[in-house]
């Protein structure tokens, strides 16, 4: 009994002392702990951890507890966690999922962050902000935004008598043919001019279709069954099936492995792939994806941070501090130079990025465009219709003329649901 009284008095005294010297500190001195889920499991992980550690060390009011898990694991857990009231304060999700999450009401608008001046929206990637807008409100804060670029193997280019990366899509096709060394039955040693992944990778096919005036949804009605898409897919499919510029049915990991093994002349991918290529000793260059007859396009990829709809005011304020930290000049320079991603801030000088040429190269992309932007049915359209149709065509199960109109109708049906 006596000890308890003693403890209580001490606690009261301590509280009084702390409150008096805390001054402007409101309420308790306990730091606010906020959780942060993301999927940066690959080579960028140490950088993400460093930026979070720096934040936790830089102040004592907020502690960010981060959980990094593979994309499919997070996708399974996130919505059930929100509905159980156990969702993370901050979740980083792909831009394509924002309409779904916003419509479910599990994330909340962060317009007041931009209004408060903690972050200047005009210095952040426009495409990311556009992709995280839902019904007129801003639902996200940029975490990562990047285009895909054309990687090319300089040694293979030299062997084929080529010195510069292609400047048009037709040139790319021509180079790809020249780089290809194909013999049937020699899959384990063949060299392919341009490795095109059709699944588990950035949707490279979309950029190839856009460059010739085709598309997937890209309009109303969806353009996947249009004659222009049929023509575009036929063009690339001939190059694959007749000229063998790419193996058929490559997944993203396989395409990267092929390029890392020095057996692919060109590849379209994001900056995260560069670390593996450097490690494998490939002498590569990075160039913008060239323009096709219908324009210059590449795939825009962005993952953004979102605030839990049930976050308290205190947690929201803590999250805003972290958002500002992530998008500060210092942290964005770290982010860009250690990962090769372009920085989120337009204010960062090129000279600051000099130590990582990949980051600089990726900030020079032209025509970055989101795939299946703003569609709640994105997953169903992509994995249910687009990928299998491309696989059917490239495996010779039917021509684009035969398969695309029906696939386009299927997409229309999904969109009307």
């Amino acid at each position: 009994m006596r000890t308890r009284i003693l403890a209580l008095t001490t606690a009261a005294a301590l509280t009084a002392a702390l409150t008096s010297c805390g001054g402007t500190e409101a309420g308790s001195d306990e730091p606010v702990t906020i959780s942060f889920w993301n999927t940066y499991t690959a080579s960028n992980r140490p950088t993400v951890e460093k930026i979070v550690d720096d934040f936790n060390a830089s102040q004592s009011a907020v502690v960010v507890e981060m959980t990094i898990q593979p994309g499919d694991v997070q996708a399974q857990k996130l919505l059930p966690a929100y509905s159980a009231g156990e969702g993370p304060t901050i979740a980083a999700i792909d831009a394509s999922q924002v309409p779904e999450f916003a419509s479910l009401g599990v994330i909340q608008p962060v317009d007041d962050l931009y209004e408060s001046g903690k972050l200047d929206a005009s210095q952040l990637p426009e495409a990311s902000l556009a992709a995280t807008e839902y019904e007129g409100a801003q639902y996200g804060v940029p975490m990562m935004a990047t285009p895909t670029m054309l990687y090319y193997n300089k040694s293979l280019f030299e062997q084929a008598g080529l010195s510069e990366p292609p400047s048009t899509m037709d040139e790319l096709a021509e180079y790809a043919k020249q780089l290809t060394q194909y013999a049937p039955g020699a899959e384990a040693t063949n060299v392919h001019g341009f490795a095109i992944a059709d699944s588990a990778a950035p949707p490279v096919w979309a950029a190839l279709l856009w460059s010739r005036g085709g598309g997937v949804v890209d309009g109303d009605p969806a353009t996947f069954g249009d004659p222009a898409t049929v023509e575009a897919m036929g063009y690339w499919n001939d190059l694959i099936q007749v000229d063998h510029i790419s193996p058929v049915g490559l997944g993203g990991v396989e395409a990267d492995a092929l390029f890392a093994a020095g057996r692919a002349g060109m590849l379209i991918n994001g900056p995260w792939a560069s670390a593996g290529f450097t490690e494998a000793g490939v002498d590569y260059g990075v160039a913008p994806v060239p323009a096709g007859p219908a324009g210059q396009f590449t795939i825009a990829i962005s993952s953004n941070m979102h605030l839990n709809a049930e976050a308290t005011e205190e947690e929201a304020a803590a999250a805003y501090d972290f958002f500002a930290h992530w998008n500060s000049e210092e942290q964005q320079t770290t982010w860009a130079t250690s990962t090769g991603f372009p920085p989120n801030l337009t204010t960062i000088d090129e000279a600051a990025l000099a130590e990582n040429p990949t980051s600089l190269a990726f900030s020079k992309a032209v025509g970055a465009r989101f795939y299946l932007q703003g569609l709640q049915q994105a997953a169903a359209i992509d994995s249910g219709v687009v990928i299998p149709t491309i696989q059917r065509v490239t495996n010779g199960e039917g021509t684009p003329q035969e398969l695309l109109p029906a696939a386009g109708a299927q997409i229309e049906e999904l969109l009307s649901e």
């Binding site: 039955g185 384990a188 063949n190 699944s199 997953a379 169903a380 696989q391």
Partner: protein, 325 residues
């Protein structure tokens, strides 16, 4: 022979006695004692069953019934759901992707279940004899079953990769190119079947070994004295006496086959163009990629009904062949 069988005639005897005895009260003390023993037995049985029933109820029965309820709604992964009656099941019947997945699952089961049971039985017969290093062989064959299937599938995918795979490179060097490997629609299904068989034969083999070792020595000796040897010994002696083990293994093999998911998810992603998409993969895709919980529950219940029907069929078939010795 078993307890419940013995109990039955006694109970009916008592009923008959009571009926014959008419209104005359049955001796009180005996009834009380019997029923109290029975009550105590029931209580003990219930106490023993309670922990398992509780776990099964909470983690199996309740989720199954809840999924059944969800299958009649348009539930998404979160948020409110409306009752839609049989709409999900109607959609299912018209869904090409569902029928394709059902067909793939059936094909996978028809090939892998009998093959893995047969191979496991062969291995068990071989390793039940005094062969050198048989413990080592048993361990090697059993090992795949204790590994994580999704992890070893990553290794298999690399081995079979047509462009950069080790196995593919070796095979092509000895003049056996595997073409486009697991990316070829013709080869994708055989590849995932191979991994499924490789994974399960160790477990089935251990079951068969246990079965073989429970066959009484005197029966084997008697058969040997009667002149049964080699295949004849197996056909007339071992095989019939293994019936109980075979039933268990066949039922489990079929259930494993209908639950196939991991190696397809990792190695082929269900592709090319759904050629390796199984029912469980389709459930995963609709439930966790498209977040259509209601529809995914309907597909799950279709799978439950398929597995239930097959298991009942198997049990009915084997029941007549059960042996006791």
């Amino acid at each position: 022979m078993s307890a419940p069988q013995r109990l039955l005639p006694r109970r009916s005897e008592r009923t008959i006695t009571a009926t014959l005895a008419g209104p005359r009260p049955v001796p009180r003390v005996r009834v009380l004692r019997r029923s109290s023993i029975q009550r105590r037995r029931t209580r003990t049985a219930a106490a023993f069953l309670a922990p398992a029933s509780l776990v099964l109820g909470v983690f199996v029965l309740y989720p199954m019934l809840d999924a059944l309820r969800a299958s009649f709604t348009d539930a998404r992964i979160i948020g409110p759901a409306d009752w839609v009656g049989l709409a999900n099941y109607a959609e299912l019947l018209a869904d090409d992707r569902f029928w394709n997945a059902l067909w793939n699952t059936a094909l996978y089961a028809v090939v892998t279940a009998p093959l893995s049971v047969a191979i496991a039985l062969g291995l068990a017969l071989m390793l039940n004899r005094a062969v050198p290093a048989r413990l080592l062989f048993r361990a090697i064959i059993f090992f795949p079953f204790v590994t994580s299937l999704s992890l070893v599938s990553i290794a298999w995918a690399f081995l079979f990769d047509p462009q950069v795979g080790t196995a593919a490179a070796w095979l092509s060097q000895v003049g056996l190119p595997i073409g486009n490997g697991i990316n070829d629609p013709q080869w994708a299904m055989p590849a995932v079947m191979l991994v499924g068989i490789w994974r399960n034969i160790g477990f089935f083999m251990v079951m068969f070994l246990a079965g073989l070792q429970s066959i009484p020595r005197e029966l084997k000796e008697a058969a040997a004295v009667d002149g049964a040897a080699g295949f004849r010994h197996f056909r007339t002696m071992t095989w019939p006496l293994l019936a109980n083990t075979t039933m268990f293994v066949v039922v489990i093999a079929a259930i494993f086959a209908f639950q196939a998911f991991d190696q397809m998810y990792v190695m082929t992603g269900g592709g090319p163009f759904f050629s390796t998409e199984t029912l469980v993969m389709y459930i995963y895709d609709t439930g966790f990629e498209q977040y259509r919980t209601g529809y995914a529950s309907a597909v799950s219940w279709a799978l439950v009904l398929v597995v239930l029907t097959i298991s009942i069929g198997q049990l009915w078939y084997f029941r007549k062949r059960a042996v006791q010795y």
